[in-house]
Point group: D2
Chain length 389, copies 4
């Protein structure tokens, strides 16, 4: 059985998720298209990298990502670093002829996104940007219903991503709140997942009309760069520095196919944890999904008799997409890991079969354009065509 | 005990709801500020009016609303007719010195709304526009939390009103789909309730940026004018005529206090029946309400310990607003009737106590301005200041 | 149009609910089978009765229930007093040839229940015991599904009634906690509603096997007899007296048709308000109902395709039982009042049409037998056949 | 860092789950107490075992479990075979001085359970029975609340486990429906998880009073022994053989501490997938958990003010048990895998630290006693003391 050697750059929260996906993929998808091998991991220091290798099950480790990129044994570069380093690594990897999977958003600027797309295209390697949530089985089921025509012509889409892990003004100024490192705030970090849902389920977005806010304008500096999200407790005396990215946005959408939409994301929604939702109304039915209850999809079919019509709560399982590979009965439990395992499978499969996989860097770049259009629309206070970005 | 004589103009769905509120008000609120007396009801024909009086418990009936307005026995005119007749009746009632309660929206045009407001102001009578949903106890509880500062400074508001009773293109062309009779569509009929929530809970709306749609562009004509909403089954051969009002809108909002918001309403949301919701995020907590589960309010307090924090499902009852008057324990059941009974009580009380009551015609007119701003914004595709309408 | 004159004995919480039902019934059901007239109300003192008449809209009042029973103008006696007075009043009413509607449970002892049944049977009058919750439209819809065979052969039933209004040991010792006045505790007060559901939906109960508890063994005495449920705040020094009824029970059930079941009720379920639920599994589907979300019924049909199968949330409305009479679209809101309005309608209709109506005193007596069997089973710690009671 | 070598016997659904837990454990828990090494896997044939090793990431494979048990390199035997083989393997493993983790229920008979317990006790090895659901973070949080006294004295417990994967009479006769292989049906397979919850959260069960049913009395034979749960589609002509185990049971409980309870499980609950729930009422609060929404625990605290009291939906995350090890924010998603990863961690930790871990074979044996008491109680139709089994 073919083996595919992976070099992973980064070893934080996403490094853990990706390592899990590599280890677990053949356990779930069997026969596997190939066995992913955790070959080498790169972290900032040799000490950290050694720990990462032990912890995450990699054979080797290094503190020099260029060595990984240039390692002839390596087939795939997996990028799980902060956004501002994605471009340099991905471009080098592509030039070295490696397939690339990169965490989202594709980059911290539109320009970098374009350069990344150009690089992988020129190199002819496979590429994927890790908008994993669309691989939640319930989201894939929604896609299936739509493709089957089960809800008819789509009229509208509304998506939200509400969180509260940084709603406390005293939670630390991680790289996610610094434009130089992250590119944007709630928009890039979580809003892009909603944009990915919108494009995946409804179609291409033509125009946006947005409003952005930064409610929490400064945060305490953390002593070192690790991204512990909301859980670090900081000294009350800690120096504070400015947040220069958005922590909330709302946008109206116009899709190319005539549907309309609204999307929004906030980091200040107390009580919402990972409230990534969509509701879609079509001429023949409706869909509702909330990642906080990700095992289920809500669907209403218009042609049910009036006294039996209502949203159905369909639990995903063996009968729904990816279900044969996952757990033997519905509601045993889909977690974050499963979305990543499916993602890794589909990427490995795309390499083995020589096919493009979505979301690719093309999607990542388009989402970057839409994000940029949202920011410009908010600045200029007017409807903004994505194609003109 | 003082009695207040009511003349009701109209006897459809809203006539039923208002009659119930008159009969039941003293049963619930005791001692009552006054006893409302169902004195006279007016319908289109004497035969219909006679039936209405018997059915709804009125002492007298007529087919001439001017007789009611001019009846010296009558203290209050209650207007439950289609939107395009509100203005003429209300203005005449005000001139005759009657207090006026009028179904929402205030009128079918902005101009009429202004004339109605001017008339009641000039006459010095009490006036109310029946945005009853804000009198759902759970909504009043949300207001109380906000006034107590329990959720801190409000950052954002998102409101929806999703229905499906007319999502079938073969449901009849009632007056609600004809601009000449209704003024607008989903916006005026249901969207105005969301606008009322936004103003009641967050504050004045300064600017709007909207998109409107008419997805179902024609509907079968019904033989007679009765508003049976979605339930009438029509002949497949029935002639169809155009719908000339919106059946969906989405709008971004800017509040005067700096909060932002989004609102939307649709008549095409299969599976959503009376999905009137709001979610509000504040610096110290969050609120969520859905009228489909109207006995409860969801609230999250930021200062709960992290391992005990989460949305609380608070059932309204004796301990919450209006609760002493309603049912002796929570979850016995708040229905549409209760919102109307509270509304009637508060209006009667405002008359007895000589105070203004909200939502008054002032509110009704402001909501009409906001609605007009939404329509203009959608037409002109730009942010529109309500004050300039 | 025929009028039916009602004399109501009692004027507390239930007096309010019944008065509402009389006033509102023709507003909802039209043409009405007859118009119920609130003729005379009886309370403990003339002063209280006078207030009750004004408040509840009765023409006359008295403090002598025998005068009502013997009033030749009166067609129906409506009994809304504490349980221990039901029998005397009902029997006298029957002897006087009056139709009788009586609040549940039928009486405070099994013997009284039997005497009441015998009296109405002998007199040939119509009789109803007010287990109103089965007239929640969603419960009637469950019945309809079952009768249509939509869920196949019923295998099991589980019912609960969980409340917390008296979970605080300092809430007052109302008549509901005194055996001499109420007969039993959670069992009679709320458990009987679950028993009514079980018999209504599944069939006759053959045997029970129960456990009962009294967790709160004493409560403070309230100065006067009014039943304010949990809302009265009492002096901490208030004298306490024993509670001599159960506040929780659990029972296994065997139905005559072979299905099995479990039911339970508690007054100590913090956070549960009126948590009256059932879940039924059949060979072809399942049902779930929770009165706290009473507008909806959950139903799953086994023959849906596996990738579209799941509980459907069906909102009751015009297309479901009683819907034409209620509100024009689903989810406008079913409250406690609506269950009582339907109940009153069906009782008045049974009188006009000369038909028996269920739940009749026959049902009330059978439920009393089952309740007695539950108490005996708990005492004797063994399966107890209801027929042997 | 210490390594612990694991030999796994079996490679079905549970083999997959356990392999995942071994691979992922150090990724989640770091520093890990030790690194579990997937050393050798045993399946029925060498061909199957080879595939299993490749798929599940084991270094070696065999078709002879005795070789694994006697392999001096092996530290831990992990038993994931059908119930009737647990005892022989576990006893041999204990005799060989291996620590043992065994899937639940402990064995297919009470006698075997006792022998297994005796064997591990005599050998002085560590032992665990894999009732993994109690390691759902939300269940661990419930335990924490109870230990903190946050809900006061526990009055009652009600647990359910409802499934439908075998509700179709044409789903195959897997080993789970054959007494000789499984020991019991819904009781042993899923009911024991509920019993584990009851003991873990409330305390020891003293007496039971149960009812059992076998609704589907025969099922089609599947050609080979693989346990594909409900997903296999069988030939309509397939031979049918009897089911000789229960597919539903209900039981009343008496706990040693005076609390009462009810538990039930069914395989015929259409629309319920993995509906493993508990509700607990205490003097100071209540708890509700449903594994189908396993990221959250519902908790109500009695001492909240009446107008802010209600069930709180607490999402588990970094602030709740095991949270630091799992995902960085709540609602990223707990799945079946996470429960197994925690389980493996706690077992490995118990070995490293030389402590007993719960649920141990002691718990497994007690649960077997309770299961036996439930069966006897149903047969004899009377309350049955567990200590007398």
């Amino acid at each position: 059985m073919r083996k595919i050697n992976i070099g992973m750059i980064g070893a934080g929260f996403m490094g853990k998720a990706h390592s899990l996906s590599m280890a677990a993929m053949p356990m779930f998808f069997w026969p596997a298209p190939a066995i992913p091998v955790r070959k080498v991991v790169c972290d900032l220091t040799m000490e950290a990298a050694e720990q990462a290798a032990l912890r995450l099950g990699f054979e080797k480790y290094t503190d020099n990502w260029r060595d990984v990129v240039n390692d002839p044994e390596i087939d795939v570069i997996d990028i799980v670093t902060p956004n501002n380093s994605h471009a340099e690594i991905a471009i080098a990897a592509a030039k070295a002829g490696k397939h690339v999977i990169c965490e989202k958003p594709l980059a911290s600027t539109l320009e970098e996104s374009k350069q990344m797309l150009d690089a992988v295209t020129a190199a002819g390697v496979k590429h994927m940007v890790a908008f994993n949530y669309r691989r939640t089985p319930a989201v894939a089921l929604a896609k299936k219903y739509i493709e089957e025509g089960a809800i008819g012509q789509i009229l509208n889409f509304r998506g939200t991503y509400l969180q509260d892990w940084s709603a406390d003004p005293n939670s630390p100024l991680s790289w996610r709140f610094q434009k130089a490192l992250s590119g944007s705030g709630a928009l890039g970090d979580i809003g892009t997942h909603v944009i990915d849902f919108a494009r995946y389920l409804v179609g291409e977005i033509a125009e946006v009309m947005a409003e952005t806010k930064t409610w929490i304008t400064e945060r305490p500096v953390q002593a070192f760069g690790v991204d512990k999200l909301g859980t670090v407790k900081l000294d009350e005396q800690a120096e504070k520095r400015p947040v220069d990215v958005d922590d909330e946005f709302m946008s109206l959408l116009r899709f190319e196919n005539g549907a309309i939409g609204s999307i929004e994301a906030t980091r200040n929604g107390w009580g919402r944890n990972n409230f990534l939702t969509f509701e879609i109304h079509g001429t023949k039915g409706s869909l509702y999904f909330n990642y906080e209850n990700r095992d289920e999809l809500q669907v209403c079919f218009a042609d049910d008799p009036a006294d039996r019509r209502g949203y159905r709560t369909v639990y995903t399982g063996p009968a729904t997409p990816y279900g044969e590979a996952l757990w033997p009965i519905p509601a045993l439990g889909i977690g974050y890991g499963e979305t990543k395992i499916i993602e890794m499978h589909d990427f490995i499969q795309s390499i083995v079969e020589g096919r493009e996989i979505s979301p690719s860097f093309n999607d990542g770049y388009r989402i970057a354009q839409i994000s940029e259009a949202i920011l410009r629309s908010a600045e200029q206070q007017k409807w903004t065509k994505v194609d003109l970005i």
